[in-house]
Amino acid sequence: MDSFFIITSLLKIVGILFLVLSMVSYAVYAERRVSAFIQDRLGPNRVGPAGLFQPIADMFKLLLKEDFTPRAANTFYYWLAPCLAVMPAIITMAVVPFGSTLFGVPMVIADVNVGILFVFAIASLGVYGIVIGGWASNSKYPFLGGIRSSAQMLSYELSLGLAVIPVFLLVGNLRLTSVVRYQIEHGWFIAPFVGDWMNPWKWLLTIPMIISFLVFMIAIFAETNRLPFDLPEAEQELAGGYNTEYSSMKFALYFLGEYAAMITGSAVIVTLFFGGWHFPGIPDGSHGWIFGLINIGVFFAKVAIMIFFFMWVRWTFPRFRYDQLMRLGWLFFFEIALVNIFLVGIILAYAPSS
């Protein structure tokens, strides 16, 4: 029993690591293609069919570049920072259920009962990679990027945390697998078409759920430093921001970290609001291993759609000014999330218990 658990866990870890890393490299490719298409360009289309081997070429390019360390940099932290940027993003995947069951093994690496708290705890460590990188470079622009990043994280972590409270008021449990289980029984939080979907109370609850989804998603945008909030690496203002002094694989690690954070962020959004691996009409893995695989496929398809949305937003909107960013975080999203919690509480108090 015990060795079975260890072996399956190891297999899941290796599988997820492989999947996330390959998704990262293809997310970079997809980003370049999507941005090109949005701007009426073609993007990388030469390496392999439709440019599909571009990530491999990119990897070789980055590996062969000179790995340069500025003389004034604090070498230890300078080397540590890119690792710190990647680790949290990948660790977060550990608690996200990415499938139902496969051969009776639950498709989640660690089904801890503090699921979402673990996600927040680890995801907020990601800022250290940026702050330490900015400080250790001993250069002005990275330093400014690091400062911006820390302030931004602080402001948006708050609304991030408050925005998911309505979800857990409904579920009554912090475990991410039970969030998915709840959504299978009662319908996705965003569109509850499953179960007793004629119940008007449920539709009334959907309004605060959509608000909380919007706030959560925008906060995730800020967490992952994606475009409307990419002040830490504002290329036009800061010459690259926190990663200005980095080159070669260390720069690649930062890049990897950014995209891994985007993937795990999408995975968390999908789990919390889009029903995780559930799709109406598709049974879970206990009906045969093929359904287990389909569930995993559904989950990653949803994540891919979410990532596309991230890219779509990035190539549509301009960057916020710093004061706008702070105003938005502290004066709007924080309040909206707070009021939203009360709204859900009131609705739950008056709704006939189901």
Binding site: V34, A36, F37, I38, Q39, D40, R41, L42, W312, V313, W315, T316, F317
Partner: protein, 176 residues
């Protein structure tokens, strides 16, 4: 004097920003979709597709020397192009045509005629100034080389690009 630009008053719908955000997303998605379906054709896939067939008549590409119908190099090494050339890309070494030659009456020919294509700015002044109509700008534009020396077009190369030019002034045939 300082001018105060009045900020436009936004109504509640504009201040919500959401309709504007959705409209912006719709525009970018339209571009994405049209590109995906191949409706937008902006980019030319260069080495496979080229402009060559649709280059205009007056296109100024690489300068080249021409021969006339008799196979004579039209250049008489007067060096006017060498003097007019703004970036001084042309270098000519003139020499005398031996009296036994068929074209002895022309008297001078370029022993060496080099155009440094790193310097050439494709202005076409050499073509304009030439009294012999011996140098023309052709439609070659992809001029490449691995070294600086590769990029200097010598006489043979210039004649190869130029070829034979028909129907130009043939004053040397009438002389003598």
């Amino acid at each position: 004097m300082a001018i105060t630009v009045p900020r436009p008053k936004l109504n509640w719908r504009e201040r919500l920003y959401l309709p504007a955000i959705v409209a912006g997303l719709a525009i970018t998605f339209k571009h994405f979709k049209n590109m995906l379906l191949g409706r937008t054709k902006v980019t030319m896939q260069y080495p496979e597709q080229k402009w060559d067939s649709s280059l205009p008549e007056h296109y100024r590409g690489a300068p080249a020397l021409v021969r006339d119908e008799d196979g004579r190099v039209r250049c008489v090494a007067c060096q006017l192009c060498e003097f007019i050339c703004p970036p001084r890309a042309i270098k000519i070494i003139p020499d005398e045509i031996p009296s036994a030659d068929r074209f002895a009456k022309v008297e001078k020919y370029p022993e060496a005629f080099d155009i440094d294509m790193i310097r050439c700015i494709f202005c076409g002044m050499c073509e304009e100034v030439c009294p012999e109509q011996a140098i023309f700008l052709r439609k070659d534009y992809a001029i490449t080389g691995f070294t600086r020396a590769d990029m200097v077009h010598h006489k043979e190369k210039l004649l190869e690009i130029g070829g034979v030019m028909h129907g130009v002034v043939l004053k040397w045939n009438e002389k003598k």
